[in-house]
């Protein structure tokens, strides 16, 4: 260890403490907490850094809609149902079947190659409910398939800021105005 006189030690510690206090008061506290005792945070434009950027509340454009869609799937029949959502538009949904079905919740961005979809959830279940915020503009929805030997009835309820829905069944596309 280094040998130093007590005076030198005291001076060094004091210098370290003063430097730390200055850095804290001049930049760290204004930037981290918006606490600005010397006005340096405002002068340096640091105060915005500590403002809460909450993601809890997202203002929505477009009009509020709700939809209830009921359908039946014969054994090994499948159906796709998707909503038109702009980027950032939100919806909540709940679907319930009277038996287990294979499902996949996915979205196709505008201008994507045919057949391309981003999948958010898939599996086998009787019901699912969720909130969803579209990460991109496009059509967003579900694929269901009945893998059982008896028909299954499914009810989908949703509310959101979508524009219209599209139903895909047996190679046909049916647009549903909401």
């Amino acid at each position: 260890m280094t040998k130093r006189s007590p005076q030198r030690l005291l001076a060094s510690c004091a210098l370290a403490a003063i430097t730390a206090a200055l850095i804290l008061l001049l930049v760290v506290l204004p930037a981290e907490y918006g606490v600005d005792p010397l006005g340096s945070g405002e002068a340096l434009g640091l105060l915005g850094l500590s403002e809460q950027q909450s993601t809890a509340l997202q203002l929505q454009s477009g009009s509020w809609k709700s939809d209830s869609f009921e359908f039946q799937l014969a054994p090994f029949e499948s159906l796709e149902y998707k909503y038109r959502l702009e980027q950032g538009a939100a919806m909540i949904y709940s679907w319930q079947g009277d038996g287990d079905v294979l499902y996949e919740m996915h979205s196709e961005p505008d201008g994507a190659a045919p057949g391309f979809a981003q999948t958010f959830a898939k599996g086998r279940a009787q019901s699912r409910q969720a909130s969803y915020q579209a990460p991109f503009a496009g059509i967003h929805g579900w694929y269901w398939q009945n893998r059982g030997s008896t028909p299954i009835r499914i009810v989908l309820n949703s509310q959101g800021f979508y524009q219209h829905a599209i139903e895909f069944r047996g190679g046909h596309e049916i647009r549903r105005e909401l």
């Binding site: 130093r4 030690l9 510690c13 730390a20 206090a21 850095i23 907490y33 606490v35």
Partner: protein, 224 residues
């Protein structure tokens, strides 16, 4: 050469500052995990330690004047045992405490060790703490800091023990890696003339950094 070493250490610390908190994407992903996920948790443990400048500064201060492998092994073991105890207990028993207060104490651990490296306790003459006890006790607080971070990422109880142990193992791997880098830098620097003279100044810088960390976290605790 010395200036280069100081510059390197400083730039590393600055760069690491931005990497300290587990990034938003990582956190989002880990929170979505249900059940045991040893891989991601081990990686996060290692990343947290390797990019956690508060832990790194303390480790640097602890090994600063350690030359014999036996001593390094002893002190790092004490630190490891200390932080593992509180990491495991804190998460398993779901201790609730202020993470910022703990982070403030972690800042003080750097102040303490830097002051001791400056031979402060000898010059002051009032009392001389046992360094081994101090490193172990501060290790307990570093573990609490790790526990509070991990509690934030663990969304489900499912697979908790495996995820916790994976995180702990990751922490030790990250620490080993960090120590290898820190020790190599120290070794190269010690062989330079004037190391002793500059060591004092660098420890004053460490002390200053510890005080800034303390002030940052303690103010956050007071404002919370």
């Amino acid at each position: 050469m010395i200036k280069l070493a100081v510059l390197l250490v400083l730039s590393c610390t600055t760069a690491l500052t931005f990497g300290h908190d587990i990034s938003a994407d990582n956190a989002q992903f880990v929170k979505s995990l249900l059940g045991p996920a040893p891989g991601p948790f081990m990686y996060l443990g290692a990343k947290h330690m390797f990019t956690g400048y508060d832990h790194l500064l303390f480790l640097a201060a602890v090994i600063f004047f350690l030359y014999r492998p036996r001593d390094i092994f002893l002190y790092i073991t004490l630190f490891t045992v200390g932080h593992s105890i509180t990491l495991l207990l804190g998460v398993l028993a779901n201790w609730q405490f202020s993470g910022q207060l703990v982070d403030a104490i972690i800042g003080l651990s750097i102040v303490y060790k830097a002051f001791e490296n400056m031979n402060g306790f000898v010059a002051w003459g009032r009392f001389k703490p046992d360094t081994r006890v101090a490193v172990m006790v501060f290790g307990l607080f570093h573990g609490l800091g790790l526990a509070s971070k991990l509690q934030d990422y663990m969304a489900s109880q499912d697979g908790q023990l495996i995820n916790l142990l994976s995180f702990n193992i990751g922490v030790e791997l990250g620490q080993l890696l960090a120590l290898a880098v820190l020790f190599s830098l120290l070794l190269a620097w010690r062989s330079q003339p004037g190391f002793a003279k500059h060591a004092f100044a660098v420890n004053s810088l460490l002390l200053c950094a510890g005080l800034i960390l303390f002030g940052h976290q303690f103010t956050g605790y007071l404002l919370a």
